[in-house]
């Protein structure tokens, strides 16, 4: 591995890249450039335990033993590909021989709600602190968006006995990532826990004197609220790469081996790669296990020792004591077969595409899921 490695983005994918470099014996300089002031940490607890428990631990161990130069608190602002350096605004640029792009995503904000206090997003540790502090006042909460994040936040707030209205434009929560029938199961879970679920509705305006007081829906409904959590999905953080020569198309596009340009790889939430399972269609995955696997893979790509990146994706999502887990590809674009749905809420669904199983999701049938995982791994090999 040539001399100096820069990693743009100090999240899980970047950390995984640094760990893989050291594991493979790279003893040269590694610089990690991150927008946040924190070293990499675990984001999944931010919508779960962290909101419930002031002692919840989000640390990722081992960041101190990697010999990384941490350049935190200022995101990369540009890439000089020919000159091989990362720009950091007015701060000194970071020269490199090889680069891993792992700048992740940023949450979409609610248009027209700028400047009102009590309107929050949840992505970073600082966001989670702000939300947790706001919960101490027992606010009336509206959550805009019933995706993975919005659904988890709603469930966590109900565990705190905070009243929640959950607003979702689609027919059911999580319809696109999990399909209609699974979304309907999740809708029932929310209702069973006294979430005021407003489906087929979106937030059209937020009003109040300096802070949120009323949330207006597109059917004219006005909800009194003290806090609005915008959980509207996220956008890849690629603005800093415009004009750099790196191909951008809904993320940083990498080739089948993980390279975005010679000696430049990309990994994690920001990266889009040609999926072998889907005949080369570009996909981007915002889940924990992908950040871990693709971060390490990016390093092997830079070394020229990478196989085609062809993971079996998986995620988990905690809702009201149920843990949803998936393997493979899930979503409304595939044929969904609900194989089991028990009165206690446990279920198992599989997803088919072009006549074969491409993924599965369950709450409660975990061992069945590992069978799918083995099947999908074998089919790939």
């Amino acid at each position: 591995m040539p001399g100096r490695i820069a990693i743009a983005g100090a999240g899980l994918a970047g950390l995984s890249a640094a760990q893989e470099l050291r594991r493979l014996g790279h003893d040269g300089e590694i610089s990690m450039v991150g927008a946040e002031s924190h070293r990499p940490y675990r984001r999944p607890p931010l919508s779960k335990d962290y909101l419930l428990d002031h002692d919840a631990d989000v640390a990722l161990p081992g960041t101190g033993e990697l010999g990384v130069t941490w350049l935190l608190g200022q995101a990369a602002t540009g890439l000089d590909l020919a000159g091989r350096r990362l720009l950091r605004g007015a701060l000194p640029s970071v020269p490199f021989d090889a680069l891993v792009i792992a700048t992740g995503v940023r949450p979409r904000t609610l248009p027209g709600a700028d400047g009102l206090r009590g309107v929050v997003t949840l992505r970073t540790l600082d966001d989670a602190r702000t939300l947790r502090d706001a919960l101490a006042g027992r606010p009336r909460v509206v959550v805009a968006g019933a995706g993975f994040l919005g659904s988890e936040v709603a469930a966590t707030l109900r565990a705190l006995d905070v009243p929640v209205t959950l607003v979702e434009p689609d027919r059911v929560p999580l319809r696109r990532p999990l399909g209609e029938q699974v979304g309907a199961i999740i809708a029932d879970l929310h209702r069973a826990h006294d979430v005021d679920l407003r489906l087929g509705r979106r937030v059209s305006a937020v009003t109040g004197a300096g802070r949120v007081e009323r949330v207006h829906l597109d059917d004219g409904t006005v909800l009194a609220a003290d806090l609005l959590v915008a959980a509207l999905g996220a956008e890849p953080q690629v603005e800093w790469l415009h004009g750099s020569g790196v191909r951008l198309d809904g993320g940083v596009v990498v080739d089948r081996h993980g390279l975005a340009a010679p000696r430049v790889a990309a990994a994690g939430d920001v990266a889009r790669w040609p999926s072998a399972m889907l005949g080369g269609e570009l996909i981007r995955v915002e889940h924990y296990s992908n950040a871990v696997e693709q971060g390490a893979h990016a390093v092997r790509a830079l070394l020229g020792i990478a196989d085609r990146y062809d993971p079996v994706p998986s995620f988990w999502c905690d809702l009201y004591g149920h843990r949803l887990r998936s393997v493979g590809l899930t979503g409304a674009g595939y044929e969904l077969r609900l194989l089991a749905h028990e009165p206690d809420g446990r279920f198992l669904a599989e997803y088919h595409h072009n006549g074969r199983v491409v993924g599965a999701v369950t709450a409660g049938f975990l061992r069945r899921l590992t069978t799918y995982r083995h099947l999908l791994t074998k089919e790939h090999a």
């Binding site: 594991r23 296990s289 871990v292 079996v312 843990r323 887990r325 975990l366």
Partner: protein
């Protein structure tokens, strides 16, 4: 090589079962069971499992 899982931390995300099925498995009650003294050849898979563990509950020691 010795493998240890801190069962106080483990929340059965099962990412290790996916990464290293030769070492980690689920029993009939969906609890994690594992081979504490696996063959050295499995080290890369176990390291992958340790990295993939969302609660960082997997520890390797000894060579």
């Amino acid at each position: 090589m010795r493998v240890r899982v801190d069962m106080n931390l483990c929340q059965t995300h099962a990412q290790c079962v996916f990464a290293a099925p030769e070492v980690f498995a689920l029993n009939d009650d969906d609890e994690l069971v594992y081979d504490a003294t696996p063959a050295d050849a499995l080290r890369p898979a176990i390291e992958e499992a340790a990295r993939a563990c969302p609660v960082q509950a997997i520890f390797l020691d000894g060579d």
